[in-house]
């Protein structure tokens, strides 16, 4: 189990911290087909940018990786942010901009 607060503090906005968490915990865990448990205990708020840096790549590359990630102790706001990032990371982004 990984305490997100240890990496990001009570306000999880630092994308560098998210990238560290992604590279040191999430990616290695998923590569070994382990269940990665991210514990948000003590994290009051996060930003979309943080959640994107943490999760988007893994979800885009393999949406089934979500079967191997568990989010624990998320308050309603953090849960909402995770859901929105997980949602858009699975969208088809083939649409061209103008």
């Amino acid at each position: 189990m990984t305490k997100v607060k240890r990496y990001a503090g009570s306000f999880a906005g630092d994308k560098d911290a998210a990238a560290t968490l992604r590279e040191e915990v999430l990616k290695p865990g998923l590569a070994k087909h382990r269940v990665v448990l991210l514990d948000f205990d003590g994290v009051e708020l996060a930003t979309q940018s943080f959640m994107h840096a943490l999760l988007a790549q893994a979800v885009r590359e393999d949406p089934a990786s979500l079967e191997h990630i568990e989010f624990k102790n998320c308050n309603d706001d953090i849960q909402a942010l995770i859901e929105i990032v997980v949602d858009y990371a699975q969208e088809d982004f083939a649409v061209e901009e103008d």
């Binding site: 979309q48 706001d77 997980v86 982004f93 901009e97």
Partner: protein, 320 residues
Amino acid sequence: MRVTLPNRSYLNDIERFLRCVTDDGKDDLTFVLPEGLFSVHPMVVTMIAAMGEAARSRGGDVRLENEKINSSTRYLERMGLFEVLGVERSITVQHPQEAAGRFVPLRQIRTNAELNDFVVEVGPLLHASPEQTRAVKYVLFEMIRNVLEHSRAEGGAYVAAQVARSSGRLLLGVSDAGQGVLESMQFAHPVSTHRHAIELAFRPGVTGTTPRFGGNETNGGAGLFFMKAMVLASSHHMVMVTGDQQMKLLSSRGKALQPRLEEDRVTWREYAHEFPGTSVGVDLTVSEDVGFEALMGDIRKAYGFNVRAANKEKYRARFK
């Protein structure tokens, strides 16, 4: 550049300030105080600080003209503007740059660590519960993080805030003297005007770090869109100034969140002079919770309109 401060300039009439900025063809910044009392939004304070940095980076000087000693100039002294500009003045205050609950003095933030500390420090100044300050902290953090990540400004972000206790409003300003939105977006997109660059920057899924719609592993292109959503939920204004363009997002109570700036209530203004970098000003209500979770639902819906809906069954996040 020559800046003559007007007697009043807030987000709803920010033009009053920007009309008073003239390009005199010199590398210097001449900052002229008005006759009598004046009152300005913190965004104006941060813009002047950024202009000062730009002038010095060009090799110019920063000068103060028409110095007066009154409550308005003492406010600017407490805000730390003269100190940041490095101008000589005779204005003195008893407790310079003290964050005493009415305003957050001008601060220069250059690193993520400074940003993290700042967001923690600003919380108690808002005199509200943690739940009520979530949107404010979110917007403040993201405004500054955008500068640190995209502006390439040597001086980082200039930040200032003011609390209007009677209305429960927090007035925020963040400015930089960096490359501006146009140059930042041109790294990945074929844009040629400041206005188009701003429109793209607000569009969910578009980021200046990659031409790929939807972003890359570190950028989703949703930061400004989230900020826009929070400002609109708070029924206030948001202003962005970069290059020769001013974009003013007006509150639109009751209207559904739109993915594109072109579909919002927005006014544009073009100026003869160019602002050297980017400035963003927002007003937010602190005294009432904007309904963060519900807002996320609106964002999710609006974001979905901007991308092709996936036809497959989606996996879901699992919560314990």
